[in-house]
C-alpha cells in the first residue's frame, strides 16, 4: 500500500479534466504549494467525509497560498454533481481516461478495486513533493498532516 511517491521526488506533471470542457495541468500551478488529495470515490454516505472536511478547512490552506486539488477516477459529470451537492470550493479532477493513469504515476492506484488510494501529497512551489501520506482506505486522514507539511515548507 505504501508505494506512494515519497518526499524529495519531483511531482509527475499531469493534465486532467476539471470540468466537462476544461483541463487543469499541475505545472500551471508552479510557484505555489499544491495539495493533491487522491480519494476512492465521490458520494460516500457520511457528512464529514474527507472532501467535505477539506472544504471547511480551505481558508486554512489558502493562508499558505496553497491550492487544493481532489482527484478520483470518477467522471466529470459525477464530479460536477458531487461538487454542487457538497458546495465544494476547490477543483475535483477526473483521473478517468486512461483510468487511474495519474494515480498510478504517484503510486496511488488500487488496481484490485479500480480506484485511487486515499493518498495525500503536498508539493512545494518548485514542483517537488514535500510530504506524502497514504491513509488506510477506510480512514479519513483529516487535515492536520497537510497543515503541518505546509508549515514546514521553506518560506
Amino acid at each position: 500500500m505504501d508505494m506512494i511517491l515519497a518526499a524529495g521526488i519531483a511531482a509527475p506533471d499531469f493534465s486532467l479534466h476539471v470540468t466537462p470542457d476544461q483541463k487543469l495541468s499541475l505545472k500551471e500551478l508552479r510557484g505555489k504549494p499544491v495539495i493533491l488529495a487522491f480519494y476512492p470515490a465521490d458520494w460516500s454516505p457520511v457528512c464529514g467525509d474527507q472532501m467535505a472536511l477539506y472544504n471547511e478547512v480551505l481558508s486554512e490552506f489558502h493562508k499558505f497560498g496553497a491550492e487544493l486539488l481532489g482527484i478520483s477516477v470518477d467522471g466529470v459529470w459525477c464530479h460536477d454533481a458531487f461538487a454542487k451537492d457538497r458546495h465544494l470550493h476547490f477543483p475535483l479532477l477526473s483521473d478517468f481516461e486512461p483510468k487511474g493513469a495519474v494515480a498510478k504515476s504517484y503510486g496511488a492506484y488500487r488496481a484490485e478495486d479500480g480506484c485511487c488510494e486515499r493518498a495525500l501529497f503536498v508539493i512545494d512551489k518548485n514542483g517537488v513533493i514535500a510530504w506524502s501520506y497514504c491513509s488506510p482506505v477506510a480512514v479519513n486522514p483529516g487535515a492536520d498532516g497537510i497543515l503541518e507539511a505546509l508549515e514546514n515548507l521553506p518560506k
Binding site: V46, C47, G48, D49, Q50, A52, L53, N55, E56, V57, E60, R86, H87, L88, H89, V139, N140, P141, G142, A143, D144, L147
Partner: protein
Amino acid sequence: MSLKVPVHDQDHAQGSADAKCTLVEYGDYECPHCGHAYPIVKRVQKHFGKKLRFVFRNFPLAEMHPNAESAAETAEFAGAHKKFWEMHDGLFENQEQLGGQLYLQLAQELGLSPQAWREAVEKREFLSRVKSDFTGGVRSGVNGTPTFFINGKRHDASFEYADLVEAIDAALASE
C-alpha cells in the same frame, strides 16, 4: 492522533477536572451522526459517574450544514450566561428545527434575553470562539463529526455505547 489543545478552564465541561478519564467531543449541532451520539454520551456519562469528565467543543461543518454555525454561536451565547449545557441539549433534542425561531424559543425557556441573543448573533460575538474550537480540532486530527478524544487520544472505533464504554474502560485501566 492527539488533542493539540488540552482541556482548559474556558472549555464546557461536565464532571471534575480530577476525573480519571476525559472524553472530548468535537461536534456539529446539525450533524445527524452527532444527533445519534447525543443520547449515547448521556448514557456513557451516567455509567461512569465521577470517573468521567465530558467536554464539548464546536466543529461546525458550515459549508454542509447551513445552521451549524448559528447553532454553535447560540450555544456559546447561552454559555456566556451559564446555560451552555441546557442550550446544547435543547439544540440536539430539536435538530430538525434548528434556526432563529428555535433559538429564540430555547433562549426564552432558559430565561435568556432574546434581545441579547439577537445582538450577539448580529455582531457574531461568539464566532471567533467557535472558529478557534474548529481550528484546534483540525490540528488535532478531527476528521468528521462527531470525533471523540479519550484522554487526549483520538477514538477511531465506533461511538456506539458498547464501543465507547470499552474504550473508556481501557483508558481507566491504564491510568
